[in-house]
């Protein structure tokens, strides 16, 4: 699958993704990889309504996403893939999915989270999981919108 962007963003589909990244990268499909949303029809309708055609939208569980990526499905489409949490991406990488780069686009303040950048707050658990991702050779690029410069945050989590 040609992945044009793999992004962690606790807001999933929203303005920065649709008007920022999708306008620049012109993906054929946005994949929301999230167990809760994949299992909830109302949530799926709700996110679908916010993506203007011709971009298609799919909602997959983390397990389904892992299988799709390991088997190179979606090969004919460019895909912008969204994760809500570090844990979800980490689960997928642990199961053997190889990624070169992850866009960290929005992890906002939660109880106990520490600020790395104004739009990136990490809990101790996130930090441990991000460190694992760095060890797998992944570059963590913090960048909210295409117009702002990316910041490599690998050294901030080790």
């Amino acid at each position: 699958m040609p992945l044009s962007l793999v992004r962690i963003d606790d807001r999933l589909i929203h303005g920065q993704v649709v008007l920022g990244w999708a306008r620049l990268l012109k993906p054929d499909r946005i994949v929301v990889a999230n167990d809760r949303i994949a299992a909830n029809l109302w949530e799926r309708k709700f996110y679908t309504a916010s993506v203007p055609p011709p971009v298609k939208v799919s909602f997959l569980s983390i397990e389904e996403t892992t299988v799709e990526l390991l088997n190179n499905l979606f090969t004919n489409e460019s895909v912008l893939m969204l994760f809500e949490t570090v844990k979800d991406v980490h689960t997928m990488v642990q199961k053997g999915v190889q990624l070169e780069e992850i866009n960290v686009g929005g992890l906002h303040y939660r109880q106990g989270a520490e600020e790395l950048l104004p739009f990136v707050f990490v809990t101790e658990e996130d930090r441990v999981l991000l460190r694992d991702l760095v060890k797998s050779g992944i570059t963590l690029l913090a960048q909210d919108i295409p117009g702002n410069s990316p910041v490599v945050i690998n050294s901030m989590v080790v």
């Binding site: 929203h14 303005g15 916010s50 303040y109 939660r110």
Partner: protein
């Protein structure tokens, strides 16, 4: 009186309220919320707390952009609290109509009226047709 909560990106909500008060004077029971630097949960909690604080009144929640994180969060709140009404595309004429009519119209008439005023105010101006 119907209460209002304006939820937007950046400082738009606060500035809309500030600007409206310079036109029609001070008012109460209308709140501004920004999504800046907030997680969806934090934004949800903030809007929810304001709705709770206005629990004696019906409430209209205005959001700036359909499809953005403000509208996502507020739609989710409406899903959980169907007595709330969420209107997207908030603009100054819509807000002024709300503030002017919220003490006289029924809730249903008010929601229709503010949407109409907001929509009617968007037009291509043509001096020859004034």
């Amino acid at each position: 009186m119907v209460a209002g909560i304006i939820v937007t990106h950046g400082k738009l909500a606060a500035e809309l309220l500030e600007t409206a008060s310079t036109i029609i004077g001070e008012f109460s029971h209308c709140h501004a919320v920004t999504n800046s630097s907030k997680s969806p949960q934090a934004l949800y909690d903030e809007v929810h707390a304001l709705l709770e604080s206005e629990q004696d009144r019906r409430c209209i929640v205005f959001v700036d952009y359909f499809g953005g994180s403000c509208s996502h969060t507020c739609l989710r709140i409406e899903h959980a609290r169907p007595e709330t009404c969420v209107i997207s595309g908030v603009n100054l004429p819509m807000l002024l109509a709300f503030l002017n009519k919220r003490e006289t119209l029924s809730f249903e008439d008010l929601t229709g009226e503010v949407v109409k005023r907001g929509q009617d105010s968007v037009r291509i101006l043509d001096p020859s047709k004034i």
